[in-house]
């Protein structure tokens, strides 16, 4: 499993996509918002938590179709399916690699970007914490979506349509937790953690069923 994770990370970095593209996209999404709504600092600081979370979602979405697509096309996925590791284990490895190459950099990059949007000082801690806990959810849900759409040519748009509704609870709780600041965000954080743990524990099995149906 470690070798799959390492392989995926290497592929993501060396193909020139991975880190830099996701981060550049995140930066651009955050950057164009003031162009759209104006550079009013009060307004920006009010909408900053939601924007940073939505930016994180969209950046995460970008690299999802790469999780299984290439392996599917060149037959690696079939070889992996016959290996002694169960399919759910492969799904966990893929999702972990996806999180390391997107969720982690997004979480780190959100702090300077938060400054650009004039985020409240006390909100930085909650922004970092919710993203650190919430982005694994995004990766695991995304891996599930990628597993479902892997057999479909040009499945990118469909993937977004399937995955974004599944992101809704995490987004609501995450953005809400950041914008509440010191006003008792712990219960929201607990709920985000609960969703995250549930996704990590259960979604790999759903991924395995979807992959098996596609490989049939």
């Amino acid at each position: 499993m470690w070798s799959i994770i390492l392989r995926d990370i290497k592929l993501a970095i060396r193909s020139g996509g991975g880190f830099s593209l996701t981060l550049a996209f995140f930066l651009i999404v955050i950057m164009i918002v003031p162009f759209g709504v104006g550079a009013n600092l009060d307004l920006l600081s009010r909408i900053a938590p939601g924007l940073l979370w939505i930016g994180a979602l969209l950046s995460c979405l970008l690299s999802l179709d790469r999780i299984f697509q290439l392996d599917w096309e060149d037959g690696t996925l079939e070889a992996l399916a016959t290996s002694p590791i169960p399919l759910s284990g492969i799904a966990i490895a893929k999702a972990t690699a996806h999180w390391i190459t997107t969720g982690l950099p997004i979480t780190l990059a959100s702090l300077p970007l938060g400054y650009l949007l004039n985020l409240n000082y006390e909100a930085y801690f909650w922004l970092f914490t919710t993203l650190a806990i919430g982005t694994p959810t995004l990766s695991f849900i995304g891996t599930f979506g990628a597993a479902i759409t892997v057999g479909i040519r040009r499945g990118g748009l469909l993937l977004s349509l399937l995955v974004l509704p599944l992101y809704i609870p995490t987004l609501m709780l995450g953005a809400q937790c950041v914008s509440k600041g010191t006003n008792n965000p712990l219960e929201l954080l607990a709920l985000i953690s609960a969703i995250s743990l549930m996704c990590i524990a259960l979604l790999p099995f759903a991924c395995a069923i979807a992959l098996r149906a596609n490989l049939k």
Binding site: I148, I168, P169
Partner: protein, 240 residues
């Protein structure tokens, strides 16, 4: 004699052909009686006036919007566990009906909301969760359309339906946290059914029963269509 006997498409077709006319007549009678009673024989509400009568369409369709998804969930589980094709086709058949029910619920709610709340749409927890339900239906339908192999499509939509149910439920309760920050209290979503007077209660029950039967009728008709189109496909493949 067990229920699983009707997983055989031929037996299902025979049985559904026999009970369809009865169901159709029963559901249209109940809906006609319920709606007539509700629209013309009930008094106007002292606060809401006659706008209250849209409840006779709104509540049954909203109920069926959720129950249609529930039925799809059960049918999907049966397909994944027992591999009965009729079950998968019934789930597929129910989805567009669920979409229609959701749209009716949203539309009637909006029509009622304009004079009562002063707005067609508000980001209230209930309204929002119906919007989310609609998006889940769309994703489910789009996935059916996108996959060519029928059995793979049935597998993948079933697993999507199961995972989607969990997340739809999560959204329903996450919405409560989210809208606290925007709304002052949930005064908009009063629980209508528990507060409704007996004068409205009985016609409402009849309307709900009619809507349930209408849903079953439509699902049966659409499932029969799906089975027939599947047979056509098989015939065409054999001839080529």
């Amino acid at each position: 004699m067990s229920l699983w006997e009707y997983a055989n498409p031929a037996k299902f077709m025979a049985l559904s052909a026999r009970i369809l006319p009865i169901l159709a007549i029963a559901s249209s009678c109940l809906l006609l009686i319920g709606l007539f009673w509700g629209f013309f024989l009930t008094p106007a509400d002292y606060k809401q006036g006659s706008t209250v009568k849209i409840i006779f369409l709104h509540v049954p369709s909203a109920l069926m919007a959720i129950n249609a998804w529930l039925m799809m969930l059960i049918a999907s589980l049966i397909w994944l566990v027992r591999r009965h094709h009729v079950s998968a086709l019934a789930a597929k058949a129910a989805a567009p009906i669920g979409v229609t029910m959701t749209l009716i619920a949203i539309a009637t709610g909006a029509i009622w909301g304009k004079p009562m709340w002063g707005t067609y749409w508000a980001w209230d927890p209930r309204l929002t969760s119906f919007m989310i339900l609609l998006v889940f239906y769309f994703g489910y339908l789009a996935l059916w359309e996108a996959i060519e192999d029928k059995d793979t499509a049935a597998d993948l939509t079933s697993i999507l339906c199961i995972v989607g149910s969990v997340f739809a439920l999560l959204s329903r309760y996450a919405v409560n946290f989210w809208s606290q920050g925007l709304h002052q209290g949930a005064s908009l979503s009063l629980d209508k059914e528990q507060h409704v007077d007996n004068a409205f209660y009985f016609p409402l029950l009849i309307c709900i029963a009619g809507m349930v039967l209408l849903f079953i009728t439509l699902v049966l008709i659409r499932t029969r269509t799906e089975i027939r189109s599947r047979r056509l496909l098989a015939l065409r493949l054999r001839n080529n």
